[in-house]
Structure formats: structure tokens, C-alpha cells
Symmetry: C2
Subunit: 304 residues, 2 copies
């Protein structure tokens, strides 16, 4: 069993690539829920949904978000009614949120709902929200305290961040399934997701870091930065704003002692030496997953 | 100002007809919220929505429910996910529920939301939910206690009812706007809605009956039954099950002393005498509103 600490798109693509080179029933994704939100009465879990849709082959790979063949009937009407339509929810996507919200109101946990949706969509990777408790990643900015979606969607992450807080994390509990996966996996992979806002909220849930600290040699991280830039999203900018170098080296420093082995892109090969000097093993390969062959090669590096 | 105690379809059609013969800004609808429900995390107000859509000219008159040009993307997907899809929510309709649920979560009242939706859709009749508190019409049946939608939609009202309860009514408060409308209107009309499940939940909210009891002479009711049958829904059957005659005479007995003037259909002209003997004034006219001319004639009878 291999467990992957997962944010959204980067993790989804890595899990998809790993599913090609190993039986997906051997894979567990421990998924960030720090950007979950309640909007229009609906509980939305963006990272869980991105992974589920990607592994189900339903995602819109060209757009980089959303579902293939998505339609926007409800949003168009909501806009006409003067409702909150800045967070775009397609019709097909909405069905997921309706399903989840109804099941949660019936007393199901997020973990149960994630399993039901995965099963219904033919996803065989086990998807585990890190906690069933409510946690919320928040941004302390010059505009005040912003919720995740205010920062990410409404302001398109174009606002200076002074610090990031994960509200509720200290009181949250990692689920038993998550703690078991972290303990029993042959390897724990940190996906090339945003370290600050996708992976760190997972690490902040009590129990997770403790479980990982015991097994540094089994922990492999894939750098989300190449030549100091994220493929998508504000990872480089956030690292800089929080005082880290906005390169793979900054990511290495961010995770520190936690990681045994780093997988970095060939474009960053020159960083292998300083990373080695910090006491990590280093594997250099292609970390961009746009081409199936490259994705397979990365998955093999992660699994070997 | 004329106030109309309103359920769903029958009230919506009467209000639409009245809007043709008088300026709609003179009309207030005090609307039942006993069949409101929370489903998929969304707060749905079927009677308010039916009236709003009908007055906005958006309703599907042929089908007798739902919106014109409605689509079913979300429901189709939800069904595919194995979700609760027995209560059909069209894409356009869903936008209303998303709007309402978001506004309620922001602290708005149902009254405020009803006004916003009406305004956005160009509806000039004032739509007032009888209360902003939560009340729920329930059916004690041989199958156990059923919620309104379980009885009405899931079982298509084909189950014997022993009694009807309006949970929460005794603790609910009529809104100040409702009490003012009942007090200040020149006339209060009881729409040809189901007496047991649409109008009675309004009357059970403390304050309403007290306001109406003072002004029997100004209260006009339109019978929802013609030749002992409802045009739509289970009014006749419910009256019989609750011990009333399943005719206009049963409806007259159900409301009792409350009503000053009864408007009954020409097909029931023979009942004018027994209704008169019970101490009510009686107007005989066409109460079916399928044809615009008939609808106008009924509206004129109600207003004259």
C-alpha cells in the first residue's frame, strides 16, 4: 500500500499516473479538506472532487479544472437572480455537492461520502479526507482575513499574504482510516501540490505529523516547483511571502526533516547537490505530467 | 389592499387573475410554508416558488408544475450518483433554492428572500411567508408519520391519513408584515387551495386566526372543490378522511365561522342554499381558471 498526501490537480494527476503503473487498489489518497466550503447550503470539497473526477476520467484536462461536457444552466440562472455566482459550479458538479450535502445531513461522514462517490464513479483508489472535522484554511492579507475561496477564486490569489492559518486544525482529529494508512503504507508520497495551502493543512491535523515523523526513510516528496515556478497556482509566490526561497529549495526547507527522498525536475538538476547537503536523497526526473510517458516515468520514480 | 391566504397552484392562478383586474401592488399573498423542506442542504419553499414563478410568467402551465423550458442536468447526474432524486428539482428551479439557501445562511429571513426573488423576477404582488420560523406539516398515516413531501410526492398522496399536524406552528410567530396586512387589508381572500394542508397551516400560526376573527364580514373564500372533487391534489380525499363531507359543504364546515362570503362554482349552485342557511353570504360563479375570461370573472367576483 502506498499513501499519497494530496491537494487538488497536481495530486490528481500523480494518482492517475500511479494508477497506470500499479493496481489502484494499492493506492490511498489522504486528501486536504482545508479549502472545503459551504456555499448555497452545499458542502463542497474541491480537492476530493478534483481527484475523484480526474481518476474517473471525467475532468476537463484542457481547461485544467471542471468536468468535461459541463453545462452551466444553474449558474446562469443564479446570476440572473443576482446570486453569488463567482464560485462557478457546473450542473454536473452540482449533483456531487447535492449528493454530499444530503448524505451529510443524514449523518454520513465526509469519509463515507467520499467512498460512495468514488465507488459510484468507478474510482478504485481509496480517497480519505484527512479528517471528518471542519477545518478552514484562511489567509491573513493586507485586505484582511480571507477564506480560501475568497483568496483563491475571488481575488485569483493576487493579494499579498502575511500568514496562513488553518482554523479548527488543532481541535480536529485525523480519521482512524487515515492514521492506519499512514502507519501501514510501505511508502508515503507527498504529491506535487501546494506545500503551504494543500499539504500543510493535512500536516496540521493532530496525529498526522506524529505518524510521519517515525518513518522519514519511507517519505518521498515530489517538488511542485520547476525553475522556481509552479505549473499552476501561487505556490512560488506564497513561499516567498512566507520567507522561503521561491524554488524547489524553498519547498525542501518548508518540509524540512519530514522528507527522506526528494523527486525534482531535470530542469532543477543543479539543486540536487544542495538538497543532498541538507541530508535528503534526491531523484532527478521529469516532473511535468502533461505527456503520458512523462507521467508514467514520474509515477515509476515515486513507486520504485 | 387585498390579502390572499395562499397555498400553491390554486392561489397562484387566483393571484395572477387578480393581477389582471387590479394593480398588483395592491395585492398581498400570505403564503403557507408548512411544506417547506430542506433537501440536499437546500431550503425549498414550494408554495412561495409556485406563486413567484406563476406571477413571473415562468411556470409551465401545461404540465401544471415546474418551469417552462426547464432542464434536468443536475437531477440526471444526481440519479446517476445514486442520490435522492424522487423530489424533482429542475436546473432553473435549483438556482432559486441555491439563492435562498445562501441568503438564509447569511442571516436573511424567508420574508426578505421572497421579496428579493419577487423583485428580481418582476413580480409586483407582495409575497409574505406567514412566518419566518420553521413549521412542518406532517401526516399521521397507516404507514407512520410522513413529512409533507413524503406524503405528497413520494407516495403521491395515495395513503390513508388519520390526522394532519403542523409541527412547530404553536411556537411560530406570524411576521409583523403579515399581521399588518391582515389588519390593514380591505378584504382577506382565502384562495382555492387545499384547506387542510395549505390554508390550515397558515391559520395555525399564532396571531393569524385572532386577526381574522375580528373581521368575518371582510373574509371571502373561494371553494377549491367542484362537484366534490379538487381540480388537483387530495383535498376531497383528505376532507373525507378527517370526517368532513368531501364537497364544498365540507370545506364550508372546515372553515366554519371564519368566512363571511363563499364563492362557489356554478356546478355547485345547489349548495348555495345550505351554505346560506349556515349563515354565510354566497356568490355563484365559474371557479375554474383554465380560460382567461373565466379567471377574470372569478377575480372580479373576489374583488367586488
Amino acid at each position: 500500500m502506498i499513501t499519497v498526501l494530496s491537494g487538488g490537480v497536481g495530486a490528481a494527476r500523480l494518482l492517475r499516473a500511479m494508477s497506470v503503473v500499479t493496481d489502484p487498489v494499492n493506492l490511498v489518497a489522504v486528501v486536504n479538506v482545508g479549502d472545503d466550503l459551504v456555499l448555497h447550503g452545499l458542502t463542497i470539497c474541491p480537492d476530493l472532487d478534483t481527484i475523484t473526477y480526474t481518476l474517473a476520467g471525467l475532468n476537463n484536462d484542457e481547461a485544467g479544472w471542471g468536468l468535461r461536457g459541463e453545462t452551466w444552466r444553474v449558474m446562469d440562472e443564479l446570476e440572473m437572480l443576482g446570486g453569488e455566482s463567482w464560485f462557478r459550479l457546473g450542473d454536473r458538479d452540482l449533483a456531487t455537492h447535492l449528493y454530499r450535502s444530503q448524505r451529510l445531513s443524514e449523518g454520513a461522514t465526509k469519509t463515507e461520502v467520499a467512498g460512495e462517490l468514488a465507488s459510484r464513479l468507478g474510482v478504485r483508489v481509496k480517497l480519505l479526507p484527512v479528517t471528518n472535522d471542519s477545518i478552514a484554511t484562511e489567509f491573513v492579507t493586507d485586505l484582511g482575513r480571507l477564506t480560501f475561496q475568497e483568496y483563491f477564486v475571488r481575488h485569483r490569489h493576487d493579494v499579498a499574504v502575511n500568514s496562513v492559518k488553518v482554523a479548527g486544525a488543532a481541535r480536529a482529529h485525523a480519521t482512524a482510516e487515515v492514521l492506519r494508512a499512514l502507519r501501514d503504507s510501505a511508502r508515503v508520497v507527498i504529491a506535487p501540490s501546494n506545500p503551504v495551502i494543500s499539504i500543510d493543512p493535512i500536516l496540521q491535523v493532530p496525529g498526522v505529523l506524529e505518524a510521519l515523523r517515525e518513518r522519514r526513510d519511507d517519505i518521498v516528496a515530489v517538488s511542485p516547483l520547476i525553475r522556481g515556478a509552479a505549473l499552476k497556482g501561487p505556490a512560488d509566490r506564497l513561499l516567498r511571502e512566507l520567507g522561503y526561497e521561491p524554488t524547489t529549495l524553498g519547498v525542501v526547507d518548508f518540509y524540512g526533516e519530514l522528507v527522506g527522498t526528494w523527486i525534482i525536475d531535470v530542469a532543477d538538476a543543479a539543486l540536487a547537490e544542495p538538497i543532498g547537503e541538507r541530508g535528503h536523497r534526491v531523484v532527478v526526473t521529469t516532473t511535468i505530467m502533461a505527456e503520458p510517458d512523462d507521467a508514467r516515468r514520474l509515477a515509476e520514480a515515486v513507486l520504485s
